[in-house]
Symmetry: C2
Subunit: 445 residues, 2 copies
Amino acid sequence: MTEQPQPTFPPPGAAPVLRVGVLGSGTVGTQVVRLLLEQADDFAARSGARMEITGIAVRNLDAPRDPAVPRELLTDDATAVATGNDLVVELIGGIEPARTLILAAFKAGASVITGNKALIAAHGPELYDAAAAAGTDFYYEAAVAGAVPVVYALRESMAGDRVTSVLGIVNGTTNYILDEMSTKGLSFDEVLATAQALGYAEADPTADVDGLDAAAKAAIIASLAFHTRVGLSDVQVEGIRSVTADDIREAHASGCELKLLAIAQRREDEHAHGVSVRVHPALVPADHPLASVHGAYNAVLVEAESAGRLMFYGQGAGGAPTASAVLSDVVAAAAHRVNGGQAPRESSYARLPILGPEAAVTRYQIQLRVEDAAGSLAAMAGVFADNEVSINSVRQSAYVTSDGAAVVTFVTHPAPVFHLDAAVEGLRASDRVMEVVSVRRVEGQ
Amino acid sequence: MTEQPQPTFPPPGAAPVLRVGVLGSGTVGTQVVRLLLEQADDFAARSGARMEITGIAVRNLDAPRDPAVPRELLTDDATAVATGNDLVVELIGGIEPARTLILAAFKAGASVITGNKALIAAHGPELYDAAAAAGTDFYYEAAVAGAVPVVYALRESMAGDRVTSVLGIVNGTTNYILDEMSTKGLSFDEVLATAQALGYAEADPTADVDGLDAAAKAAIIASLAFHTRVGLSDVQVEGIRSVTADDIREAHASGCELKLLAIAQRREDEHAHGVSVRVHPALVPADHPLASVHGAYNAVLVEAESAGRLMFYGQGAGGAPTASAVLSDVVAAAAHRVNGGQAPRESSYARLPILGPEAAVTRYQIQLRVEDAAGSLAAMAGVFADNEVSINSVRQSAYVTSDGAAVVTFVTHPAPVFHLDAAVEGLRASDRVMEVVSVRRVEGQ
């Protein structure tokens, strides 16, 4: 057996000391501070430096705090914390004052660790440039999917491969709401009210339910996956406010779950060259790995030319899981300050065009009321073929409605939205079709 | 929309050139060479250096090769390739001459990338020391779970957290064999013969079916997860040769799948302090994420104090998926040569004792034939309680056998093997128990 003497932590005095400033002391900040203090020896052994927290900037010095946060470290001078440390951990969130503080931190020569997805999606290139000018690190693992190391995976583990698409459940609040609607048959408003009462949804739920939080993450994911700049305004966004209990029942009837997905696709074919980035509810086949991602869990599915399909799964939010992501970044940034080296800089050399909604490649589920007569199916199949859309499955309801109609449900193969929409228009114009009952996106093959 | 000018690749001459040597040109080596040549601009943009393959060492210069491998780069002078390059990619496998060549490469100042799990499990510390002495990088993402970035995850993404256990399906051949046995009801020998004919299993299948390949990966996983040295000889190994079609039928009857698992656990409680590392077949509840990992896919489930449960899933073998892992390491090592910095060194400061088999924490499924009389169940429950084992479920067959026995199946809660085995002995000694029919491990809660 391998010999195991006593553990060897760097003794105090033997390792360099890095000054750490924390901006914000909410649920994540509290866990970051607690763990840095409780596991100081481990952090020293792993990074090569002892971390000394010199200040924790908060808005209100007198607010009640978790006892894990030493009161003597609290200060309301955020600028001093941002500019007086080697490592600055920004956990305030939002655009300002976070942006100004981070820029000040870089200017003062600090390495910066943040979980601020909104800020990165809005001002990523500016922050990257500031880090490069300072010659320090910019880390943000916690900005996407909490504890799940998606940023590491895309920025480092996939650096030797070509990512073709990323499909993710990256917002726990909406995933929880859709889950509750799905299992309890409740309406969106009912579930939202309960989620707010339980603290699972914010009092102002806009960022979550309207898809903006997921869109910020989608922009970050797409930038990293495709080595190109993608900002929040490049993402097509549709939230879950309009999802009804009926929609979910129909999803189940089709053997699917309804999920809010963040999607980043690269197209490189005769019809399009660029990236499509979007957030919207979609049907996901029940046997697809993303269909069984429940509650606050996040999952990100990466398809790459050589690796094929990879999936990363874990807790997408919460104080401790997010702190885990922040602290891995702290260790990496600390090790660079001790040993040299740097975090990967922004990689945007590919400079891919952003494609419009019509170039997205997806599948449609189309439900129609059609004349129950010979030749109807052939006529409809012809409409699909004319628009270069292949049919994956077709299902006709066993009953015929009182007006002599049959309900037919088509699921297509993947095709550009441009072609799919043309096929829907063609169906709408067909005299065999009495009504286009619903058109829904299906993702995940 | 974000402005997107033309892509910006470093023009030839503007980026430093790194000399790359490849040892071995099998399925993985061929893909590595093909991709480095085909996507040279991407690699230059991502790493900051242009890669020039100067030699590909093979045993037989005249063997037929994939046309992607330029014949003029082939050489049978492996030592020259190992010692004449900035980056050396070792894809020969096995202990020698791989070990000697890698040590020579480090001595010549090269950074080394390998996928050689057997070598790392046997000689990891020696290789790490050689890299440290040379001041260069040692990367081996491809050694565990193919394209799935498990090494990155454990070595970097979890550096700010405390891993408590890792549970993985890390050998595609055995997973494929168990899958085929499960779905087709075939015997181990029948499936193995077919797998060999199809090229899914080696002519000498020992490394796979006896669990040695999984054990090497388990040793690497445990070393990284727990910051301690774990060698191949520290791993308790049981392969799948003795698994029968009956075992699998009974697993299904219990609502489980039978999987070969690699398990690394850290114990830190009143009874034990150290790590338990093992590979063995185990029942996995059908609704557990590992139960639905099929065929050549690998999955690794990490539990950590802050992050909670994380899962990583993807293709565990094959030329292109493994090349994806190798090439991400190539990019990282190249970037360090250009920009400074280094891969994480061996982190073995925790120096944890290796625990014996009796200290492993697991669950047992115990099937008994018992006297069908009042009080039998209470008597058996007493035996479990006396040995500090809690019962998760108990199921009694609907029928009574001709000798007046009932078949009862217990599944326990997790407990140390020491206690579980004592409970089994207690049951065997009980006059209520006519026979202990089977004892199986259950993993995954």
